[in-house]
């Protein structure tokens, strides 16, 4: 570990700030930026940083993230230690760190986590304000996840979108030229694909990403929601019951075993050629496309993406899995942490990262629409605007402790799962979800 004297640290801090400012001045030509004064965060004496973030689903994500962090260290002399944590264990680790006041300086966790303990983080208004002004503003959903009470309690760095991932040849074999844009047509497609031996499959286990994504889409697409605009629990509604009936019908077209699927399960089954359709990030395509096996690259040719169909609600109702960086208030090096986050989000680092993970972690800043990754391959396009029009966890109410707790307790997933597995009728499952959600939100 490097140790610096106070004098050296002043020199280092100033040097680091100017090095970072210099880096910020060299924005990649393709990304439009505004001329905004650099906030000039001066790292503290002897700063070191530890970062906790989700483990990779695409290799390029991890490689470029490490490369960018090493570049930061080489410019500033600030060592950065990164822990890549499994998706399921990320929330508990963040919860424990915030509760005991010790742990990583920066936690890059799911967007809703920071709303569970807003008092445990350092506001990032200065940094987020600077980045928003420079890079064309934040997408509305990024602001929703990042802000509470008008303050930036965390900063979105990317979001994975759940889109329909399908085998084009098998969809055509079922008599469709593309995935239907409505829920009735979608169910019809899944039934025909199942009849042809190419079933769909969506996770019904307690999968943080995939399970929450498709069950939220299911309920929202039928006009249901966990709460109303005033945070009153309304999940036990006719719309939810209709959604659950539709979900049960859809489940009957699935490959066996989805009840126990966790986040990696559909990726594995799809790449093994056992699935015709699923909802996922772009990671399935990435794995096939970058594989060294010829068979996998051939499979990639047949993989296409589409937006999830629109249901009776009459609008797109996809969820985003947003990753927000939280600067924990116990960190002794908040300025170094801000400098590091700024460095990661500047175009010289962010655009290569976005490109390396082919948009798996979608951009929260609007200027990155201009990234070449969105035109490099037409199959990337459905993932271009994850944070532009996604719905948020706890839709239609506010993000907060209750919405986070309901999500973390898999209330939505288990409601759908209990109907699909025949343990409950749709009415019973909706009533049970209402009861559980009211434990968190409070009853009306």
């Amino acid at each position: 570990m490097n140790r610096f004297t106070r004098r050296e640290s002043v020199i280092l801090g100033a040097g680091a700030a100017s090095a970072l400012a210099l880096g910020a001045g060299r924005a990649r030509a393709s990304i439009p930026t505004a001329d905004v004064p650099d906030p000039g965060f001066v790292p503290e004496e002897g700063a070191t940083l530890t970062v906790l973030r989700p483990s990779k689903f695409v290799q390029g994500d991890e490689d470029m993230f490490i490369a960018n962090s090493e570049e930061f260290t080489s410019l500033t002399g600030i060592p950065v230690e990164i822990d890549f944590e499994s998706w399921t264990d990320l929330t508990p680790k963040a919860a424990v760190a915030s509760s005991i006041g010790s742990g990583p300086d920066i936690i890059m966790g799911w967007g809703h986590i920071s709303h569970q303990y807003p008092d445990a983080v350092v506001p990032l208004d200065d940094l987020a304000g600077y980045l928003g002004a420079k890079y064309g503003g934040w997408w509305p959903m990024a602001e929703k996840y990042g802000k509470q009470g008008g303050k930036w309690i965390s900063m979105p760095i990317g979001a994975s979108g759940g889109r329909c991932v399908y085998r084009k040849s098998w969809v055509e074999e079922a008599g469709f030229s593309e995935v239907p844009g409505d829920t009735d047509g979608f169910l019809d497609l899944c039934r025909k694909m199942q009849a042809n031996g190419h079933p769909a499959g969506l996770a019904l286990g307690n999968a943080e990403g995939d399970g929450n994504a498709w069950t939220s889409w299911l309920v929202w697409s039928h006009g249901g929601a966990m709460v109303d605009e005033d945070n009153r629990v309304i999940i036990n509604s006719p719309e939810t019951v209709e959604a659950l009936k539709y979900g049960k019908a859809l489940y009957e077209t699935f490959i066996p075993g989805t009840e126990s699927w966790l986040d990696p399960s559909n990726n594995k089954a799809f790449l093994a050629g056992q699935l015709g359709l699923t909802q996922n990030g772009i990671s399935v395509y990435y794995a096939a496309k970058t594989s060294e096996e010829d068979a996998m690259r051939e499979l990639a040719e047949d993989i296409y993406h589409a937006r999830m169909p629109i249901g009776p609600a009459g609008k797109t109702t996809e969820r985003s899995l947003t990753v927000n960086a939280m600067l924990m208030n116990y960190s002794p090096y908040p300025n170094a942490a801000k400098a590091y986050l700024q460095f990661l989000m500047e175009a010289e680092q962010y655009d290569p990262w976005l490109t390396a993970c082919i948009g798996y972690w979608n951009h929260p800043l609007q200027a990155y629409d201009a990234s070449a990754i969105w035109t490099a391959d037409p199959k990337h396009e459905p993932y271009k605007h994850v944070l532009k029009d996604a719905l948020w966890d706890g839709y239609r109410g506010a993000l907060g402790e209750a919405s986070s707790a309901v999500l973390a307790d898999f209330v939505m997933v288990e409601m759908v799962s209990s109907v699909c597995t025949g343990r409950s009728t749709p009415e019973e499952a909706a009533a049970e979800a209402q009861r559980r959600a009211e434990r968190y939100y409070g009853s009306a």
Partner: protein, 319 residues
Amino acid sequence: MATTAQTQPASLPLPNQSRLARVLDHKPTLIVLCLLPALGLLLVFLSFPLLFGIYLAFTDTRLGRPGEFIGLENYRSLFADRTFWTAVWWTCFYTVFATVLKFGLGLWLALLLNHRLPMKSLLRAIILVPWIVPTVLSAIAFWWIYDPQFSIISYVLVDVLGWRDTYINFLGDPWNARWSLIAANVWRGIPFVAICLLAGLQTIPPSLYEAAMLDGATPWQRFWRITMPMLMPILAIVLAFSVIFTFTDFQLIYAITRGGPANSTHLMATLAFQRAVNGAQLGEGSAIAVAMIPFLICATFVAYFALARRKWQQGGSDD
């Protein structure tokens, strides 16, 4: 002078001793001082968390926010919570069936290992492997073994032997998932039981068996009349430990099913964790954890008193 010093009672202070030496020479003080480190560790790492957990169970504490005392509200809510009652029932079922299987198979294995076998030491070492392997690793191995698409068991039954047409849905069906978890727990727990009982078997004097054989006792009679009674004391201890380990199991469930499908395999421990840490409801999670205590105390007492050493085993009457 040396003779005088030797004859002086140890408890009386020597005239030239410092105050510290006199304090340390005082036997009760010395005992307290020696016990303090152990007591401190127990208080800090066992008693405090337990008492704090019990306190939290009566509050609405959330992660990152202190709570208020709410009396029995957490328990009132749990009483109406179907998931909680499923977890209670499944925890008891899991404990009973896994323990019975572990003891049946473990005792059988111990009896086999107690015979003269070639490479007996090597066999004993191999048998310990499931217990030595970190639980999470064995859980991940079982997760693959039970995978709905890539299970080796399904592959052999369907693709190699052709005995089935479809892959087994090990973890997707609630009952399949439950039995699969019990099987994983039994596989992991047998070595502990077997090795402990083997140690017990080796303490039984061979002369008892020789005398029984001279009296014409059959192998079954020797087992039932000599082996089992003599094993009872160690059986009670091992059973108590096994019940506690199984009842509080966490890692296997968390790694293999995370409580699914549809909450059907949540043990009380995993449900407490999910509510307290993932769901941020520390109060409710603690209430679930505290609800485990009466079950554990009952199970331990039953195991201990039902199977504990009898007077006749020490030569007394069996009153």
